[in-house]
């Protein structure tokens, strides 16, 4: 895909580019109009879209610009948002990570400040600045149909478990950063995290992990999330640390308690 783009970009200063682009733009506007006129629900009309972008801009100026700059160009404490795309905004704002509560090492997941409509507006505004990854639609997220849990588990253990732990419970990174737990995270947000690489997370492009593989990973995470506690209390699924703690508290506590009782008995 990248090679194709490179090949295309060689022609970007060609004489025919400008008229071609004009035709393309007219065509796309025409199609958009006809589609928007026909279907009432999805794709927004240009007017609606620009209204949404305007609303997003107002929200952005009030809530985000003090750190990210008046034109989302970034500042001393926050990165530029030009080109991060709608997916990034949707992930960061809809999970409550943005706006940040404080300037700690990492934005925490918390109750979202903006409602769904406002998030959409903010995403539309940021996406209007420059193209970037889009919010995946419902049809792209049908992991139950398109994913395979076993393959997803294998991919998860190869690419994700090193930070998020074997059961997606999260884990520690350096200097107070951490990979959060993936339990109870919306499939959409897991997908967005993979394509945008928030905070310390790398970007898993569609070339490294294809969209189907991403859905497999999501399917495995959801399977792990809904798996009944097969062996009894799960103890946080973080490995031997909590098991050791339970042995030294409950296990040995009970046994030493019984020993004391036995020594008092039958005098």
């Amino acid at each position: 895909m990248e090679n194709n783009l490179k090949r295309l970009s060689r022609f970007r200063r060609h004489r025919a580019v400008a008229p071609l682009l004009l035709v393309l733009a007219l065509l796309s506007i025409g199609t958009t109009f006809s589609v928007a006129g026909a279907a009432t629900s999805t794709p927004l009309s240009a007017a609606e879209k620009s209204a949404l972008i305007d609303e997003g801009k107002q929200l952005f100026l009030k809530g985000c610009s003090s750190c990210h700059g008046l034109n989302a160009e970034g500042g001393a404490v926050a990165p530029s948002l030009i080109g991060v795309g709608a997916a990034s905004v949707d992930f960061q704002v809809a999970t409550g990570r943005m706006p940040m509560a404080d300037m700690s090492v990492q934005a925490m997941r918390k109750k979202p400040v903006y409602n769904e409509k406002q998030v959409e507006a903010l995403a539309a505004y940021v996406a209007s600045l420059a193209p970037g990854p889009e919010v995946p639609g419902e049809s792209q997220l049908n992991y139950e149909r398109d994913g395979s849990a076993a393959e997803g588990g294998e991919l998860f253990r190869t690419n994700c478990a090193m930070c998020h732990n074997f059961a997606a419970q999260g884990g520690a990174l350096t200097q107070g950063k951490y990979a959060p737990t993936l339990m109870g995270v919306e499939p959409r947000h897991i997908y967005e995290a993979m394509i945008t690489g928030p905070q310390s997370m790398p970007v898993f492009s569609d070339k490294t992990i294809t969209p189907e593989e991403k859905l497999s990973i999501i399917k495995w995470i959801k399977a792990a999330e809904s798996e009944p506690q097969l062996g009894g209390a799960a103890l946080g699924r973080v490995g031997p640390v909590t098991e050791g703690l339970l042995v030294w508290t409950l296990g040995l506590g009970l046994l030493v308690g019984v020993a004391v009782w036995l020594a008092m008995k039958a005098r």
Binding site: M162, A172, A179, W220, E227, L230, L235, L245, V247, L252
Partner: protein, 528 residues
């Protein structure tokens, strides 16, 4: 004589005529054991071992110790169709398809953790009460051997299922073997039958786990118990208890009933844990492949301190003559544990060298009456605890919102600073307790009753303590430090002066005590 008694008598007679067991039984079934809860700690370890043998045997019926690659076709859907070793697949089979298999696996693993924990608390009891002193030094060494074997045996068991966590542990074990200078890489190749992971390691450690080490355990435990039998159990001091007698209950019926009942209680607690709490959910870890790792990979608790030491060690390496020496693994993985365990094994001899005490001891010390020993024990435990905490630094970091770097630096400093502080505090505490004992003997118990004297002064009434209590608080010996002069009477320096100086110094530190209350002290007080 009823018919039943006659039959029992006939059976007993039949056996006795052929084995001569009656005399032995008569003598030994009335053998007396002292009764104290802390004497049951070792029994927890013994019973856990029996549970391990039974549950382990059950697991061997289905476990396939092979690294042959198979494709999973069992019940657990999220692993369906994956390539894995037969070892891992058979562990999944035990967990999901064998009736009671998961419960048995969990009982086996919980029993292993309880076994090790019970060994450690038993060791603490023996250490802090001075039960390792003559004539029990050999039994102490056997105990240290059992602890060491337990760590190895536990680690091998943790490695057998060949899940992602197992494999990670084996990888670290391989790294520790490789860290041995010169022979390391040869040894690793020998152990793994080639390059890591190979196909030989799991079959090999299986034989060691189910045959060699359990055999060694059985032999050592037998000797351990026979020595207790032969040397008789130690007892806590008290009125009527001397170095020459044992006060307690006969083996039959009292002790037998208690011990037998306790076995079932230990089994019950282990089965309870196995039934209600998940341990090592191997199906979530997935099969081992060297390319994968999980965040928060930890060993079981009894190796957590070792992992903690490795985690805190700075990245030190030297390169010489084409060899790399990885001090960052060699020091925390082999040298420090080697020093710790050798020191522990030799401690009875070191203490008797320091105190010059070569007599037999069957009466236990109250920990406060041996401040130096108690302080040294608390110091060692503090060291282990700091290392153990650092072993779980990632889990602690995410749980308490700390940074892993802070915890690592805390441990790096604390491992040197906290143990000596613990030593000083413990020693002071012991001496304070001795002082409190002395006060109690001399001035009696505070009753909380205030009395106004005729001249208006308020005094609190003190009641004298019972004779038994007073005996308990004053029965211990307080031996002076060894007198080892550096120079003899004619002013000539003795040979080995430096060694003697060290010995005298340590002996002096060991003999520090608050003088216990004596009869004269009491008389003087009464006189006032």
């Amino acid at each position: 004589m009823t018919a039943r008694e006659r039959i029992a008598g006939n059976v007993a007679n039949y056996v006795d005529e052929r084995t001569g067991a009656a005399k032995w039984m008569k003598k030994n079934l009335t053998k007396v054991f002292p009764d104290h809860w802390s004497f049951l700690l070792g029994e927890i370890a013994l019973y856990s071992f029996i549970i391990l043998l039974l549950s382990g045997t059950f697991l061997t019926f289905w476990f396939d110790p092979s690294q042959r690659e198979v494709i999973y076709e069992g019940n657990y859907e999220p692993l369906e169709g994956l390539k894995m070793s037969a070892a891992y697949a058979s562990t999944l089979h035990i967990s999901f398809e064998v009736r009671g298999g998961l419960l048995m696996r969990q009982i086996h693993h919980w029993a292993a953790l309880i076994f090790m924990a019970a060994i450690v608390v038993h060791l603490m009891r023996v250490y802090f009460t001075g039960a390792f002193r003559k004539p029990r030094e050999f039994n102490w060494i056997i105990g240290v051997g059992l602890l060491t074997l337990g760590i190895v045996e536990g680690f091998l068991g943790y490695s057998l299922p060949d899940d992602l966590l197992s494999g990670t542990g084996i990888r670290i074990a391989e790294a520790i073997i490789q860290a041995l200078p010169v022979v390391g890489s040869y040894l690793a190749f020998f152990a793994f039958g080639g390059a890591f992971p190979g196909e030989a390691f799991i079959p090999r450690i299986y034989t060691v786990h189910v045959l060699l080490l359990p055999g060694a355990f059985l032999a050592l435990i037998t000797v351990h118990l026979m020595l207790v039998w032969y040397q008789k159990h130690t007892q806590y001091p008290g009125p009527g208890r001397t170095e020459k007698n044992v006060v307690g209950y006969p083996l039959l019926p009292v002790y037998m009933a208690k011990a037998g009942g306790f076995f079932f209680i230990v089994f019950g607690v282990t089965a309870f844990l196995g039934a209600v709490a998940s341990i090592n959910p191997i199906w979530l870890y997935g099969p081992y492949t060297p390319g994968q790792i999980s965040a928060g990979s930890q060993p079981d608790w009894y190796m957590g301190w070792l992992d903690g030491l490795v985690r805190m060690s700075p990245p030190l390496e030297t390169h010489a003559f084409g060899h790399t020496i990885s001090w960052n693994i060699l020091i925390p993985g082999l040298i420090v544990p080697g020093i710790l365990f050798t020191g522990m094994a030799l401690y009875p001899f070191i203490e008797s060298w320091i105190t010059g005490d070569k007599r037999e001891h069957h009466l236990l010390d109250r920990p406060r009456n041996a401040p130096n020993r108690t302080a040294l024990g608390v110091m060692s435990l503090t060291f282990m605890l700091v290392a153990l905490i650092n072993g779980g630094n990632d889990i602690i970091a995410t749980t308490f919102h700390l940074t892993i770097n802070q915890i690592m630096w805390f441990s790096r400093i604390a491992i040197f600073v906290l143990p000596p502080i613990a030593f000083v505090i413990t020693k002071r505490l012991c001496l304070s307790l001795q002082r409190a004992d002395r006060e109690l003997v001399l001035h009696g118990r505070e009753t909380g009753r205030l009395v106004m004297m005729p001249h208006g002064e308020f005094v609190e009434v003190h009641e004298p303590i019972s004779a038994e209590k007073a005996w308990l608080l004053t029965q211990h010996e307080q031996n002076p430090a060894l007198a080892l002069e550096e120079h003899d009477s004619s002013g000539v320096r003795r040979p080995k002066a430096l060694k003697n100086k060290l010995r005298a110094r340590m002996s002096k530190a060991h003999a520090v005590a608050v003088p216990k209350a004596t009869a004269e002290d009491l008389k003087q007080i009464e006189h006032h």
